[in-house]
């Protein structure tokens, strides 16, 4: 049983590469697993912060960053499983609603990193409805790479907290492993913002 077989879906790597190319100034936080691989595969950037753990932490980390850097677009790119573990953080974001924060959930309806077990989002949960219910009014679903341009335009303009569910194929592209050295990634990210070490 798979209720979503008829839904058109987009290639995750194609979508992520297209989105990032269209928002060169964005500060990007990627959730652990495939989302971090997708972001890295599209080209390493100093302004990427890759998570390799801290499951459920991508959104709240992005919120703290967005509040600290209100003049820059901040984009959290994560998967459905990672988002589900931190689902309450959508409520926390729904309260603060920073105009410069966007959450992009690459949703294949499965826990891809652990053997493609089905996740809640293919078993009944509607993540867009959840985001709206938590107060993020600009929440919508896409399933094509052509939508990258308009999504990026909204993000670049920092025109309001945005939640995008991207329906992607449940496949496993070749691994593309970003640096696992957390202090290195942190320090180069801060340096790119002109921040000094303590």
């Amino acid at each position: 049983m798979n209720q979503q077989t008829s839904t058109p879906r987009v290639d995750r790597r194609e979508f992520v590469a297209g989105l990032i190319a269209a928002m060169p100034d964005a500060l990007i936080v990627s959730g652990l697993g495939s989302a971090s691989y997708d972001v890295f595969a599209s080209g390493d950037r100093d302004r990427n912060y890759y998570l390799w753990g801290a499951m459920g932490g991508a959104c709240p980390l992005g919120l703290g960053l967005a509040l600290a850097q209100p003049d820059k677009p901040v984009v959290v790119i994560t998967g459905d499983g990672e988002q589900l573990m931190g689902i309450g953080s959508l409520g926390t974001i729904g309260v603060k609603r920073p105009a410069n924060l966007a959450i992009v959930v690459l949703d294949n309806g499965h826990f891809g990193e652990t053997g493609m077990q089905r996740s809640h989002s293919s078993l009944g949960t509607d993540l867009v409805a959840v985001a709206k219910g938590f107060g993020i009014a600009n929440a919508f679903s896409v399933s094509d790479a052509a939508s990258c341009a308009s999504i990026a335009q909204g993000i670049n303009a920092r025109q309001g907290t945005t939640f995008v569910q991207v329906l992607i194929n449940a496949d496993e592209p070749p691994r593309a492993l970003p640096p696992r050295d957390g202090p290195y990634v942190k320090n180069r990210f801060r340096a790119a913002l002109g921040l000094k070490p303590f």
Binding site: P60, L63, L67, T92, P183, K186
Partner: protein, 190 residues
Amino acid sequence: MSLIHSRNVPKAMNHTSAQAPAWQESIFKVLKEGGVRQIAYVPDAGHSQVIREAIADPDIEDIVLTTEEEGVALVSGAWLGGQRAVLLMQSSGVGNCVNMFSLLQAADFPFLTLVTMRGEYAEFNPWQGPMGRATQAALELMGIHVLRVSRAEEVEEIVSAGLDAAFGAGDKVAVLLGQDLIGRKKWERN
């Protein structure tokens, strides 16, 4: 404009009936003077004054969390973006944070949390005991340095010491505000 934004909550909805103890006011002073720009919290009575002041201060973002581990990630994100942030929680929340504390070690983020203690002194509610008594050990197991305050006159100095260690040395610090400091919870409403 939606009514759910925190700054739209009328002041009358805050329970400000009792004068906050001076030690609570000294905590906000230390945080403010220490350049803290984001205060994330799951509420507790012992933090109520700091939360009120954070909400009232236009230079500080107050962030109410649905669960405490969000705060661990949030304060790390704030640092990534160049701001100092602290997490306020009750001892029960420390248990919720354990795996998220990995972030602090894996990326070596500075961290300051203020934890109001339950389950350790004149506790009325047995459900507070298990996590309250495990709080310090849980923090230490995850590599967080623990400072403890039991007397009101020590609060300002010890919170200040924790702030200096976190943002001056990149340390990960929890300041436990003892239940003997906070005092007995009033269970009957007048």
